[in-house]
C-alpha cells in the first residue's frame, strides 16, 4: 500500500484521488487539515491524519463543516497553510462563514476542497458546489485525474497566497474515489513563522467596508484569470479546425477522450480540457472556439461551465455564432452522474454517427437475464445493528400509543429507516440535525389543534454536528418532542471517524469525552438511557416519554455499531434455529423473522420452508431468539 508521506520524488504511486489531494497538500507544506466526515471526501483527512506525526501536522475531525473551515482559517490567519475538506452538503453548513471570509481574506494559503457526489451515491442530494465559487468570487480548480488532484492541490496553495484568499478545489466521486497513477513531487522542509499580525487592520467587513472588499474580490479574479490563461491544467487535443469542439472539465475529460476514440472521430472532434473553471480563461477559450461552429459541453452535474461559456460568447465581438450542445439542448442529461456512454451518444448524435455498444440480439439476451435472474441487492442495516432494534422498539411503542405519532430524522445509516430495514418509521430526512429542528417546529403546533405526538432520531455524531442548537431551541420554546439519540459510538456511515463523544482524536491521540447525558442535564432536559437490544425495555421507555407532557426529552439508545464490536470481540452468542420448533408458514407468524424483522443473518430456507441462520453473516447478538413467537430460534453463550 502506498506510503503517502514517502520522500521519493519522481516515483509513481497508484493513488485514490483523495489520497492524491492529501499528498498535494503535503507537497505544499500544509500544517493544519480539518474536516467533518462525509463521502466522497472522508479519505483526504484520514490520509493526512495517518501521517500527522511523521509530517508534523495538526489534523482534526471537527464538529461540523463550518467549524472545520473556521479552524483551518485560524491556522491560515497565523501564517500556517491549511486545508479544509467537505462534501457538497457540508459546504452549505460552512457557507455563512465562507461568504464573509472571502471578503477579509487570509494571509497564508487556505484551500477548500469540496467533493461533490453526482447521482447522490452516498448523499441526499447531488448539488453542484461550483456555483459557490462564482457567487463568492473565489478561484475554482477542477482536477480530471489523480495526478491533477495532487498537482492542483499544491498549486491551489500558491493561488490562494497570490490573492490572499481562499482557493476552491472541486472534486467529484469518480475523481475522489478512483485510483490512478501519480508521479510524486518533492516534500518541503517547512520553516514556519507562526504569528497573528495584530498590527494590521482587522479581518472584518463591518462598518460599511463590504462594497470595497467586494471590489477587491473582482480585482483578484482579473489577476487569477491572467494566471489561468497559461495554466498547464488547460489544454487542447484534436485537429486545427474541428467540426465539433468538446469543452470539458473534471471527470468529463477522460470520458470525452474515450468517446472520441471509440467513435474513431479524432479527425473531426477536438477537446478543450479546462482545469481552471472560475474565472474562465477567456482568451484561451476564444482561441479554440473561433476554430469551430459546434460546441459540446461535458461536465458534472449542472450546466455551470456551459452557462459561463454562453455568457462569455455574449461578450465576444468576433461576429461568429455557435451552436451549443449539452444540458440545455438535451444532448447530455441535466441530472445524474456522467459516464463515457453519455458522451459517446452525445457526440454520435451531434455528428450523426451510428453507434451501438453491442448487437441487438446480445443486448436483448443480457436484458432478459438481468431482469429474470439478477435479484436486486439493496442497502440494509447490518446483522446485529442496534438501529434495527431501536426502530423495532419505536415501531411497537408508536403502535401501542396509537395517536399517529410523527418521527422525523436526518442523515446517517439510520436514514434507511424510511424503508423496510427500519420498518418505514422515519417520515422526513433532509439535512444534518434537521429532524430535531422540524420536531421543534411540529412540537409547537398543539395550540392549532395538532394532536400527533412528535419524535425525532439523530445519531451521536449528528447530535454534536447540528442537533444541539435545535434541542436548545426546543427547550427554550418549550416545544413538545422526544429526541431519540442513536448512540452507536462513532461516525459509522462514513467509516467510524471519532467525534467529541469518543476518547480519541483524528490523529489517534487521547481526547476528553463530552458526556451527552451531562450536556442534556445542563439544558434541563429529562434524559433516559436504554439498550436497544432490550427491545421490551426500550419500547416501555419510549412509551413512558410519550406520556410525558411538556418540554423536550431525550432517550439515548446506546449500543456500539455491530461492525465496530465485531472487530474487537467475538460474537456474544451462537444463534441456531431448532427445525422441529420452526413450523414455517403454518406458524401464523408469517415468517416474522425474515420477512419483517429482516436481519441479514436470518434466511428463509425455501426448500425446508423454515427459517435458518447464515453463520457467515450472523453477528451473534441473539436478539432474534427473543422475537421469535414460537421460540424456535435459540442462542448458546459463546463464553
Amino acid at each position: 500500500m502506498p506510503n503517502i508521506a514517502v520522500h521519493a520524488p519522481k516515483i509513481s504511486q497508484l493513488l485514490m484521488g483523495n489520497e492524491a489531494i492529501a499528498r498535494g497538500a503535503l507537497e505544499a507544506g500544509v500544517g493544519v487539515a480539518t474536516a467533518y466526515p462525509g463521502n466522497p471526501s472522508s479519505e483526504i483527512i484520514e490520509t493526512l491524519a495517518n501521517v500527522a506525526k511523521e509530517r508534523n501536522l495538526y489534523v482534526e475531525w471537527s464538529i461540523n463543516e463550518k467549524v472545520a473551515l473556521e479552524v483551518a482559517a485560524g491556522a491560515a490567519l497565523a501564517n500556517v497553510r491549511a486545508l479544509c475538506a467537505m462534501k457538497q452538503n457540508g459546504l452549505n453548513v460552512a457557507l455563512d462563514f465562507l461568504a464573509n471570509l472571502n471578503l477579509t481574506g487570509v494571509p497564508s494559503g487556505l484551500v477548500l476542497v469540496i467533493c461533490d457526489d453526482p447521482s447522490g451515491i452516498s448523499s441526499t442530494n447531488e448539488q453542484d458546489s461550483r456555483h459557490v465559487a462564482k457567487a463568492l468570487n473565489l478561484p475554482l480548480l477542477e482536477p480530471a485525474t489523480s495526478q491533477e488532484a495532487k498537482d492542483m492541490t499544491r498549486w491551489a496553495f500558491e493561488l490562494s497566497e497570490e490573492i490572499a484568499n481562499v482557493c476552491i478545489l472541486r472534486s467529484v466521486t469518480r475523481i475522489s474515489h478512483a485510483r490512478g497513477k501519480v508521479v510524486l513531487g518533492e516534500l518541503p522542509n517547512v520553516e514556519r513563522n507562526v504569528h497573528f499580525d495584530i498590527s494590521r487592520k482587522p479581518y472584518a467587513s463591518i462598518g460599511g467596508k463590504a462594497p470595497e472588499l467586494h471590489q477587491t474580490l473582482h480585482q483578484n479574479l482579473t489577476r487569477i484569470m491572467e494566471i489561468y490563461e497559461s495554466s498547464p491544467f488547460n489544454g487542447y487535443t484534436g485537429p486545427e479546425d474541428p467540426e465539433l469542439l468538446i469543452i470539458t472539465c473534471g471527470s468529463g475529460w477522460l470520458y470525452s477522450l474515450e468517446a472520441v476514440r471509440i467513435l474513431s472521430a479524432e479527425s473531426s472532434v477536438g477537446i478543450l480540457k479546462l482545469g481552471t473553471t472560475w474565472p474562465l480563461p477567456r482568451k484561451l477559450i476564444e482561441k479554440y472556439m473561433l476554430q469551430t461552429g459546434k460546441i459540446l459541453v461535458v461536465e458534472e452535474v449542472d450546466a455551470f461551465l456551459e452557462g459561463n461559456l454562453k455568457e462569455l460568447t455574449a461578450d465576444m465581438k468576433q461576429g461568429r455564432t455557435w451552436t451549443f450542445y449539452g444540458k440545455a439542448s438535451g444532448h447530455i442529461p441535466s441530472f445524474g452522474e456522467m459516464n463515457p456512454d453519455i458522451v459517446i451518444n452525445a457526440v454520435a448524435q451531434v455528428l450523426d454517427l451510428k453507434y451501438a455498444s453491442r448487437k441487438p440480439e446480445y443486448h436483448q439476451k443480457s436484458q432478459e437475464m438481468a431482469q429474470n435472474y439478477v435479484p436486486p441487492r439493496g442497502s440494509q442495516f447490518c446483522a446485529g445493528c442496534p438501529h434495527r432494534t431501536t426502530f423495532w422498539a419505536i415501531k411497537n411503542a408508536l403502535i401501542m400509543d396509537g395517536r399517529e405519532c410523527v418521527l422525523t430524522g436526518d442523515i446517517g445509516c439510520y436514514a434507511m429507516a424510511t424503508g423496510s430495514t427500519g420498518f418505514f418509521q422515519i417520515r422526513t430526512v433532509h439535512a444534518m440535525g434537521s429532524g430535531a429542528g422540524i420536531a421543534s417546529g411540529l412540537g409547537k403546533l398543539h395550540p392549532f389543534g395538532f394532536k400527533q405526538p412528535v419524535l425525532t432520531v439523530c445519531g451521536d455524531s449528528t447530535f454534536f454536528h447540528a442537533a444541539i442548537p435545535a434541542l436548545i431551541n426546543g427547550v427554550h420554546s418549550q416545544s413538545q418532542f422526544i429526541l431519540i439519540l442513536l448512540d452507536n459510538g462513532g461516525t459509522a456511515m462514513t467509516g467510524f471517524q471519532p467525534h467529541p463523544g469518543n476518547n480519541m482524536n483524528a490523529m489517534g491521540e487521547p481526547a476528553p469525552i463530552l458526556d451527552v447525558e451531562s450536556l442534556c442535564h445542563g439544558l434541563g432536559v429529562k434524559v433516559i438511557v436504554t439498550d436497544p437490544h432490550d427491545i421490551n425495555g426500550t419500547t416501555e421507555k419510549v412509551l413512558e416519554l410519550l406520556n410525558n407532557d411538556g418540554n423536550p426529552s431525550v432517550l439515548i439508545s446506546r449500543r456500539e455499531c455491530a461492525l465496530i464490536s465485531a472487530k474487537r470481540e467475538k460474537p456474544l452468542y451462537k444463534v441456531l434455529v431448532n427445525p422441529d420448533r420452526c413450523i414455517g408458514e403454518s406458524c401464523g407468524c408469517d415468517r416474522f423473522c425474515t420477512r419483517v424483522f429482516r436481519c441479514p443473518g436470518l434466511i428463509w430456507d425455501r426448500e425446508a420452508r423454515k427459517a435458518s441462520i447464515d453463520e457467515a453473516v450472523c453477528s451473534g447478538c441473539g436478539v432474534c431468539a427473543e422475537i421469535c413467537p414460537h421460540h424456535a430460534i435459540f442462542r448458546e453463550s459463546n463464553g
Binding site: 497508484l14 452516498s122 477522460l254 453491442r358 436484458q367 435479484p375 415468517r591
Partner: protein, 208 residues
C-alpha cells in the same frame, strides 16, 4: 504471454460489500503500475459496508490513461466473487468476447433471504454466463478459503485464478511481490497459500 494485449484491457472485479474485492483490485493495480502500465481503478462506494453490490473497474493500458468507468459492453474480463454479481456485471458490461471467472458460492441478497425474490439455481447462472461470454471458469473459492481456515481468503483464491488464467499480463511472482508488501508475516503465508490454490485450481479446469 507474448501475444498482443487488448488496450486498454478492461477488468471488472465484482462481489458483495465485505468480500474484499477492493483490496485485490488495488493489489492488481499496483502490480500493473510496477510493470509500467497506466492503471485506473474506478470503485463503486457508498453503502459498501451494508451488503450492497461492489464492483471495481480495473483498466490498464500501455499508452493512455483510461477513465474510471468502463463503457457499456466493453469489459474484457469479469472476475466475480459471487455468482449473481458476475452475471449482473456481464449483463451490463459484457460482450461476446468477455471472459468470466466466478466464485460459485452465493451470498443471498436481502430480498432472497426474506423470500420476496428468488436466487437463481447455479445451473441457470452458468447457462446465462455461457450465453453471454466467450469463456467462463467456475470455482468454489469460498470452499477453498474455508478449508484454509478463513472464508475471507476467497478473494485471494480468485486473484490466483485470474492470474492463473493467463488473461491479464501479470506474472504470479509480481502479484506475490505485492502481497509481500501488503501483509505482515503472520497473514502473508495464508494469503500466499490462498493465491497459490487459486492459480492451481484454474489451471486444472477447462473453460465452459
Amino acid at each position: 504471454m507474448n501475444h498482443e494485449w487488448k488496450d486498454p484491457l478492461n477488468l471488472i472485479i465484482t462481489g458483495v460489500g465485505g468480500q474484499g474485492n477492493i483490496l485485490i483490485s488495488k493489489l492488481i493495480g499496483e502490480a500493473m503500475l510496477e510493470e509500467g502500465y497506466w492503471v485506473t481503478i474506478g470503485e463503486t462506494y457508498g453503502a459498501t459496508q451494508r451488503g450492497g453490490s461492489v464492483a471495481s473497474h480495473v483498466r490498464i493500458s500501455k499508452s493512455i490513461q483510461p477513465g474510471p468507468i468502463i463503457p457499456e459492453a466493453k469489459a474484457d474480463i469479469i472476475l466475480g466473487l459471487e455468482p449473481v454479481e458476475s452475471l449482473r456485471m456481464l449483463c451490463l458490461y459484457g460482450n461476446p468476447k468477455t471472459s468470466v471467472i466466478t466464485n460459485i458460492r452465493p451470498i443471498h441478497p436481502m430480498a432472497v433471504a426474506t423470500g420476496e425474490a428468488e436466487y437463481p439455481p447455479l445451473d441457470t447462472i452458468k447457462q446465462g454466463i455461457r450465453g453471454l461470454s466467450h469463456e467462463a471458469w467456475y470455482l468454489d473459492a469460498s470452499k477453498i478459503a474455508i478449508e484454509l481456515g478463513a472464508p475471507l481468503l476467497a478473494n485471494m483464491v480468485m486473484a490466483g485464478a485470474l492470474i492463473g488464467s493467463g488473461r491479464i499480463p501479470l506474472k504470479e511472482e509480481n502479484f506475490q511481490h505485492q502481497l509481500k508488501m501488503a501483509f505482515r508475516e503472520e497473514k502473508l503465508s495464508l494469503n500466499l497459500r490462498a493465491f497459490a490454490f487459486g492459480v492451481s485450481a484454474i489451471k486444472k479446469q477447462v473453460t465452459h
